[in-house]
Amino acid sequence: MIAVAATAEMDAEVLVVGSGAGGATTAAVLAEAGFDVLIVEEGEWVEQGSVVPFSLEQMDRQYRAGGVTVALGLPSIAYTEGRCAGGGTEINSGLYRRPPDDVLQRWAIDFHIREFENDEVQTIADEVEEAISVCTVPGTPSAPSDVLRRGAEALGWQNSEIPRWMKYPGKDTPADDSNIGQRQSMTRTYLPRAAAAGARLVVGCRIDALQMTSGFASEATTTLSDGRRGTIRFRHVFVCGGAIQSPALLQRSRISGRIGRSLAVHPTVKLAARFADELNVTDDVPVHQVKEFAPDLSFGGSASQPGLVALALSDQWSTFARAITDWRRISVYYAAITSEGRGRVRAVRGLRDPIVTYALTRRDRALLGSGLARLALLMLEAGAEEVYPSFRGAPVVRKRGDLATLGADFAAARASVMTVHLCSTVPMGEDTDKCGANSFGRVHGTTNVWVNDASLLPTAPGVNPQGTVMALAIRNARRFADAERPRG
């Protein structure tokens, strides 16, 4: 535990709000460059291994609002945010994807991002992969993961194992390395690095607003976990609270512009599939993904502890209920789309939490339906005996002929749509009609307020975004460090 207790009055040369993929990397780069850095995290420090992954206890301790957060719409989309030291990196699947080159090029052109070189971003990605020990699982994949591989290969669909940030036993790893078997999340990597360079991390401290004068922020008002109010004085501030909390904080601080108007997500729909043999893994997720239809559509595996299997069956409980007794033979899978819809984040005076909305397009709805049908087909090809799609009125799928019924019965409004990838609420670039921040994350119309997290991604990248978030955050922090001289 490297966190220190929050006090009512604090100060720093650079205040970093949030300690996830954006905040932790920003803090490490700036502290190592000699800046006096204070990282402020609203949640608590939860030691890895002290909670069961994907459990309700983890949701209580490490998720915002206990995991019950939703973007309102028809249908509403359930989403999750980390609220703990390390942010979302402590609770996500740990799967890593590089920033896609074609996406980076499109962003640079469409959003007028200056000095945005693919080579620079990819070189930083190399460093990130080293720092967080990105690698594939040694040995054979888990049975739920192999289902994706097997089904895709039977159909001739492109699939691969996705590496993750995890340290496994190996010839180059000492047997007594305390990181073995641990996810190399921010509490294991960049936060200790930032602390070693002198950064301070306080937990249990919410930033209520930044005090702005003519585009300049000089202090932040805070609420500590015991209810005390306080202030933090600073010279520069990096807002890294994620794609929901970052725009909400800027709005509460009366910063206007393209803030919170272009939320982008990867909506997903799910199904549960029952096989002949036991395959359920309660505390991990499959590492294979199927990318045959990427970037529009991709398939992967979800956490499948029995509570989550019951959840997947609950939309059509009257006919799916009997399957729950077979949960050891069931695993849950998802179809994710790259959505053309957009959402909004609005901070409302008097309300502690922002209002989040999201509107799927007609094309999104159709893609969710076709994605679910294709995923069901993949399950059948992998040997599933029965498939249970997660929407009200769904049929049990036992053979290819049932897929037509699935397609006909599906409606997005009846489905449990959710997402874990949220981004694009403060897009970066010089086009102020589209972008809330400049090419390096400084919020347009301000002189010392930066955003450096998933909010900056101009659109949803079509892949797990954490690698992209980290690479861009490091790029921007380095530009800042080059331009500003540390005080001391």
């Binding site: 459990s55 309700l56 915002r64 609002a65 206990g66 019950v68 957060t69 939703v70 309102l72 028809l74 249908p75 509403s76 502890q305 029995p306 509570g307 989550l308 299997v309 019951a310 959840l311 069956l313 609950s314 939309d315 409980w317 209920a321 009997r322 729950i324 007794t325 949960w327 409302v348 309300l351 502690r352 939490d353 922002p354 209002i355 009200r392 009125g393 409606a411 409004a413 009846r414 449990s416």
Partner: protein, 116 residues
């Protein structure tokens, strides 16, 4: 006796509804377990973000008024069986939280709620 403001607190609204829903869905769930599940749902509901909590409270009040009249539960069941936007989300939320808790806590629970 509860004050007027307590009557509108979300835990007071979702608790009785969750009791009814669980009794209907999982009739053989032992009483002690049901109580534990309802307490979990109430605790989760209390943590819902502010605007969503307001919406859930309004819909919860609608269902509470509905089930308070003779035959109201039958009407509620019909509403719950339809894929209605907004109104349908409330029982879906209660059911999701309940089931996730039950099968994480007691994974061998039968579809009727009975212990094996």
């Amino acid at each position: 006796m509860a004050s007027d403001s307590r009557l509108f607190q979300l835990d007071r609204i979702v608790g009785p509804f969750a009791e009814l829903l669980l009794a209907e869905d999982l009739p053989l769930l032992p009483t002690g377990r049901r109580t534990e599940v309802v307490q979990f749902v109430q605790r989760k509901a209390a943590g819902i973000p502010s605007f969503t909590r307001f919406g859930v409270t309004v819909i919860g009040l609608f269902y509470r008024a509905l089930v308070a009249v003779p035959g109201g539960w039958m009407v509620a069941r019909i509403l719950m069986s339809r894929p209605l936007p907004i109104l349908g989300e409330y029982p879906r939320l209660i059911r999701s939280l309940s089931y996730a808790y039950i099968w994480e806590r007691w994974p061998d629970t039968l579809p009727t709620g009975a212990c094996p």
